[in-house]
């Protein structure tokens, strides 16, 4: 018997579709945020799709590399992009579709951390002062935010009984409304702060600034140009979308609503996936969901995808509003923010112990 069972193949195909979807959508959420910010300042702003144009323009341009740069500088854009893209492969857009790749959330976090590590190295590599400054700041922020990220992820993992992303998402569907539960609501707020820090958003970093005193992420990209810059920026956009997807799929699950609405075939899939997510191990889950997949109708999947896109837009709006309504923190206040996000996650963890699932 061949390794490629029909289930595996259909799972791989659905994974690939979701992967492509993520890659395609990635520049969009940044565009929405920028547009909302522009509108709030009574500007017309760039079109929502501006980042696609930018990327397209940059890819056709030639890269200029400094004489002092070593090979690290040249490989980093590829590493950053492929780390983000690999991470994107692990994140299911909807739990209704079968999945053949079951990724652990820790793998995802450290894949992204790998990209960041190389980004910092390359920023140091050229010997420019801004790059060094940006790298040191970026490492500090990521070191500060990492504990809270791990604690909140583990808390969600504790409740769902797994750290595999698709199983976590499947388990969260069974909880009803997670935002009415003290554990989740705390982890949710922690996650929002984490996302703001990880995706270089305003209280932590200003993505639109090029002022040397304040820039963090931009400072590291300063030496890049052309195709390499395009890859770096695209990698960052994918990373942002991955985090948003995690947020909306873990804390605002909607797939069970589709089942409730009775769209044909979906309920069977939800049941099957729900059971698989909680009881079965990682390997078996793929197989079971694979069989269930045949029951999922195209309509249910399309509704799920539309809901997903709506949720992403909503999350982008939330981030945009946060950016509008806050100011960038002084760099030395960022530990306070990180501490706040840590206690949110930690309190959630503690509430889990007091309360149970």
């Amino acid at each position: 018997m061949s390794v490629f069972t029909p289930d595996l193949i259909s799972g791989l195909i659905s994974n690939f579709i979701q992967f492509i979807l993520l890659l395609l959508l990635a520049p969009l959420s940044g565009g929405i945020i920028k547009k909302v910010k522009a509108l709030s300042q009574k500007r017309k702003g760039a079109p929502v799709l501006q980042m696609y144009f930018d990327l397209w323009k940059l890819i056709r341009k030639e890269s200029v590399v400094s004489d002092t740069a070593s090979w690290i500088f040249k490989v980093t854009p590829y590493i950053v992009f492929s780390a983000s893209a690999t991470a994107a492969l692990l994140v299911p857009v909807t739990t209704l579709l079968p999945s053949a790749v079951s990724g652990d959330i820790l793998l995802l976090i450290y894949l992204l951390a790998l990209g960041r590590f190389f980004m910092c190295l390359s920023a140091l590599d050229t010997g420019s002062t801004f790059g060094g400054m940006g790298a040191s700041r970026e490492s500090m922020i990521s070191a500060l935010i990492e504990p809270s990220m791990l604690v909140s992820v583990f808390t969600v993992g504790l409740i769902s009984g797994s750290t595999a992303i698709d199983e976590m998402m499947a388990a969260m569907r069974t909880i009803g409304n997670p935002l009415l539960h003290p554990v989740y609501i705390l982890c949710f707020f922690a996650m929002i702060i984490i996302i703001l820090a990880e995706t270089s958003r305003i209280p932590v970093d200003d993505p639109s600034t090029h002022l040397e005193l304040t820039m963090v992420h931009e400072a590291m990209l300063l030496e890049y140009s052309g195709r390499q810059l395009a890859l770096m920026e695209y990698g960052a956009a994918i990373k942002q979308l991955i985090f948003l997807t995690l947020l909306v799929n873990l804390f605002l699950p909607t797939d069970q609503l589709i089942a409730l609405a009775g769209i044909s075939g979906a309920s069977a899939a939800v049941d099957a996936v729900g059971v698989a997510g909680i009881t079965a191990g990682a390997g078996a889950a793929g197989a079971v969901t694979g069989t269930a997949a045949s029951a999922v109708s195209a309509a249910a999947v399309i509704v799920a995808l539309v809901l997903y896109i709506l949720k992403i837009i909503l999350a982008s709006l939330v981030i945009a509003v946060t950016e509008i309504s806050t100011v960038k923190f002084r760099f030395f206040s960022i530990p306070n923010l990180a501490a706040l996000s840590f206690i949110l996650a930690f309190l959630g963890f503690l509430q889990y112990f007091v309360l149970g699932r």
Binding site: L180, H181, P182, I185, L186, F189, P335, N336, A338, A339, L340, F342, I343, L344, F346, L347, L350, Q351, F353, V354, L355, G356
Partner: protein, 219 residues
């Protein structure tokens, strides 16, 4: 269902005291205190509606109205006024840095958890959770008082302790007897008024409300 709302509210009230701990300016203290009091009023409101429907008693709703009038509207305004009369320069108000303070508060929550879970006979996970959260609010209030140098910070710490006690009473026994609740309110408002006057006087005599200057009496 009711319990899950109270769980969330207790968690949010606890969260608001953490927020208070992470603030640097007295104005933000007052704002956070107002948020916390509103959450408590909301709790009392939900509980009051519940008891009105079930037993037809207005007691808790009256308490809720008093909380809104007193803690959400009057006391924050009073604090703003006191602050306005005494404060003309911004100084650092705490001894340790904020992340450390917050981590210590985390430790306090763990402590509250262990001390309550050792009782063991509190029935039900929900009650346990709510009591842990509200006890932690009290402990954080204490710690807030210790960690701030200024007189107004101490007043707010005291108010947070009072808030914590109130929610403890609400969550564990659905409020104290009505007369006692009213008496506690009277005491509290008197205490705050007295402290407000004291702050003004301290500011006159010491030309600051920094309590580090109050160390003439020793031994």
């Amino acid at each position: 269902m009711m319990d899950s709302y109270f769980d969330i509210l207790s968690a949010l009230i606890l969260l608001s005291s953490f927020l208070l701990m992470s603030h640097k300016r007295i104005k933000s203290y007052i704002k956070t205190f107002r948020i916390q009091s509103s959450l408590i009023a909301l709790t009392a409101g939900i509980m009051g509606m519940d008891s009105l429907i079930r037993e037809g008693s207005f007691d808790i709703l009256i308490v809720c109205v008093i909380i809104v009038l007193l803690k959400v509207i009057y006391i924050p305004r009073l604090l703003h006024r006191t602050y306005g009369t005494v404060e003309y320069k911004v100084e650092k108000d705490f001894y340790l840095n904020i992340p450390l303070l917050i981590l210590i508060c985390c430790g306090l929550v763990v402590f509250a958890y262990f001390s309550v879970s050792n009782i063991g006979s509190l029935d039900g996970a929900h009650l346990n959770l709510q009591v842990v959260n509200s006890l932690s609010v009290i402990l954080i209030g204490f710690f807030f008082m210790i960690s701030r140098k200024k007189a107004i910070g101490q007043m707010i710490g005291f108010l947070v302790i009072e808030n914590g006690i109130f929610v403890t009473a609400f969550f564990s026994t659905h409020g104290m007897p009505f007369v006692v609740d009213i008496g506690i309110f009277i005491d509290m408002i008197t205490a705050i008024l007295i402290m407000g006057v004291m702050v003004t006087r301290i500011n006159e005599k010491f030309e600051s409300i920094n309590l580090d200057k109050l160390k003439n009496l020793k031994g």
